[in-house]
């Protein structure tokens, strides 16, 4: 109602007006230690991953309880740790979920995915865990893991990966998982219709990515939306297509942190150009669909952005939550339609965002 009145007032004053929203927040839970992802449980409450390695159940009233989860090969340091928890499409029946994390040691690690089942009774535990994907090769250092995941309409799973920072050229090599988005079945098998099944990394679905931090399947448009971090500038919003090359590091709008050019080219033949690019970088982290719009949370940019599809193109509708002055790690819209946002700090919060 308030929005309709604002719109009418705007029309009366200016003749033409974009629909502007205002965003309110409500704190659901506090004191989460660098929360990374959230999943809304059908029985109420939420699962939240903390990068340090804990899986936490947050009740509707904000009380927290640790979920028993055993990941012996978890490697947590700097950007490495526990990443995304994603419920299976049939979670209500199967209790199945998948979890991405960094596995290995300081000098030999990469992104791994396990599947498991959440117990029916509280206190919750994740049982019957089993590895379904390990990104190869194992690499040195604790940077750029990607690790966002989404289910496609055919029940297969997309897992976004990173380039490991110092291995950027491997994003163009089809025998390495670094800098790729991979597609696997829920048991970890490689679907026969993957585009590069003849290579040493047959799980590859798309390549040329730097550090993917947002990935979502839009079933209404049958499209996959993704965003990834550029270095200094060149953060990208892309539509992911099977087998396509997204350019890193041979074509980019970003330059290296040192000021040096990573590549002289912003586009090249055979490379998909971004639908939208952020220069200077806002460090997008988390991507969600809400009423057909895209919501993008930002770390360095400390804001939530809303994009609307206009004439087949994503256009920035507005910036929100800048008043919080918080790095935002993730945005998620669950089955209930509520918008959830995680702030990125030692005293992180789980927020509900209400657009009016």
């Amino acid at each position: 109602m308030k929005r309709a009145l604002k719109f009418l007032l705007c029309i009366a004053l200016y003749g033409v007006c974009a629909v502007a929203y205002s965003a309110e927040t409500r704190v659901i839970a506090e004191k989460l230690n660098f929360p990374w992802s959230v999943a809304e449980l059908p029985e109420g409450g939420y699962l939240v991953t903390e990068r340090g390695g804990k899986l936490v159940h947050v009740a509707e009233n904000g009380t927290k309880q640790a979920v028993t989860l055993s990941i012996p090969d978890l490697y947590a340091e700097a950007q490495a740790g526990l990443f995304e928890v994603l419920l299976s499409p049939d979670f209500s029946r199967s209790r199945a979920l998948v979890i991405s994390y960094s596995c290995g040691t300081k000098h030999a690690n990469n992104t791994c995915v396990i599947r498991g089942k959440l117990s029916l009774q509280q206190p919750y535990s994740v049982i019957e865990t089993q590895n379904i994907f390990t990104a190869l090769p194992k690499k040195d250092g604790a940077a750029h893991y990607g690790a966002r995941m989404t289910w496609l309409g055919d029940g297969t799973l997309l897992v976004a990966l990173g380039d490991g920072f110092v291995y950027r050229e491997q994003a163009q090599l089809l025998d390495s998982h670094l800098g790729k988005i991979v597609r696997i079945t829920r048991s970890g098998a490689t679907p026969e219709d993957n585009p590069y099944t003849h290579t040493k990394a047959p799980q590859i679905f798309s390549y040329g990515h730097r550090n993917v931090q947002g990935l979502i399947y839009d079933k209404d448009r049958d499209a996959i939306w993704q965003h990834e971090h550029g270095p200094r500038g060149g953060d990208e919003l892309n539509r992911i297509e099977k087998g396509a090359n997204y350019g890193w590091p041979i074509a980019t709008y970003g330059i290296d942190y040192t000021g040096a050019k990573v590549s002289p080219f912003v586009d090249l033949p055979g490379v998909k150009a971004p639908l939208y690019q952020w220069t200077p970088s806002l460090a997008p982290a988390g991507l969600a669909l809400y009423e057909g719009d895209l919501l993008v949370a930002h770390l360095a940019g400390k804001r939530l952005q809303r994009f609307q599809m206009t004439a087949g193109k994503w256009e920035l509708e507005g910036d929100y939550l800048q008043g919080l002055n918080q790095r935002l790690r993730a945005v998620y819209v669950g089955p209930s339609g509520r918008i959830l946002v995680l702030t990125d700090s030692k005293e992180g919060q789980l927020l509900e965002v209400i657009f009016e």
């Binding site: 700097a78 040195d140 250092g141 940077a143 920072f165 110092v166 950027r168 050229e169 163009q172 590091p249 041979i250 330059i255 290296d256 942190y257 040192t258 000021g259 040096a260 050019k261 990573v262 590549s263 002289p264 080219f265 090249l268």
Partner: protein
């Protein structure tokens, strides 16, 4: 004193120019290895961009590093005057290599300068410190035969 300052300034600028061009070639060679064709105008434009945007950062790393290295070299050279030139050359190179390792241990990324990812790149970038040492001592304490060289034939 003015001679020392001018010599130091020229040494920093010389090393920053050479180091910048070296790192650009390493970055571009990684792209050509991926079958990207880079023509000469594009290569020259990239060098120019890097001189303007990478050069100042590299000069910022070089300045404190060589300041300390050259003081140490000068002190040792008092005891071993016959080795002065080599003390500045070796001192500049070793100090820059150590500075790279320190910067990489402090920076959030494993390797700040992409060219330093390979042993050859690390060695060549470090040698720019040795080049700075040579320039500095050549200007500060030119040897008699160097003074005898005619500037223009």
């Amino acid at each position: 004193m003015a001679r020392v300052l001018i010599a130091f300034l020229i040494a920093i600028i010389g090393a920053a120019l050479v180091g910048t061009v070296i790192q650009t070639q390493f970055n571009l060679s990684e792209l050509t290895a991926l079958s990207v064709v880079i023509d000469m105008p594009t290569r020259m434009n990239t060098i120019l961009h890097d001189l303007l945007h990478f050069g100042p950062l590299f000069a910022l790393i070089l300045t404190p590093t060589l300041f300390v290295a050259f003081i140490v070299a000068a002190l040792i050279a008092k005891k071993l005057p016959s080795l002065e030139r080599w003390l500045f050359i070796v001192g500049g190179g070793v100090a820059l290599a150590i500075a790279f390792l320190i910067v990489d241990s402090l920076a959030p990324m494993p390797t700040l300068i992409a060219a330093n990812r390979s042993p050859l790149g690390f060695a060549l970038m470090s040698i720019t410190g040795a080049f700075a040492g040579w320039i500095f001592d050549r200007l500060w304490h030119p040897q008699p035969r160097e003074l005898a060289e005619e500037l223009m034939q």
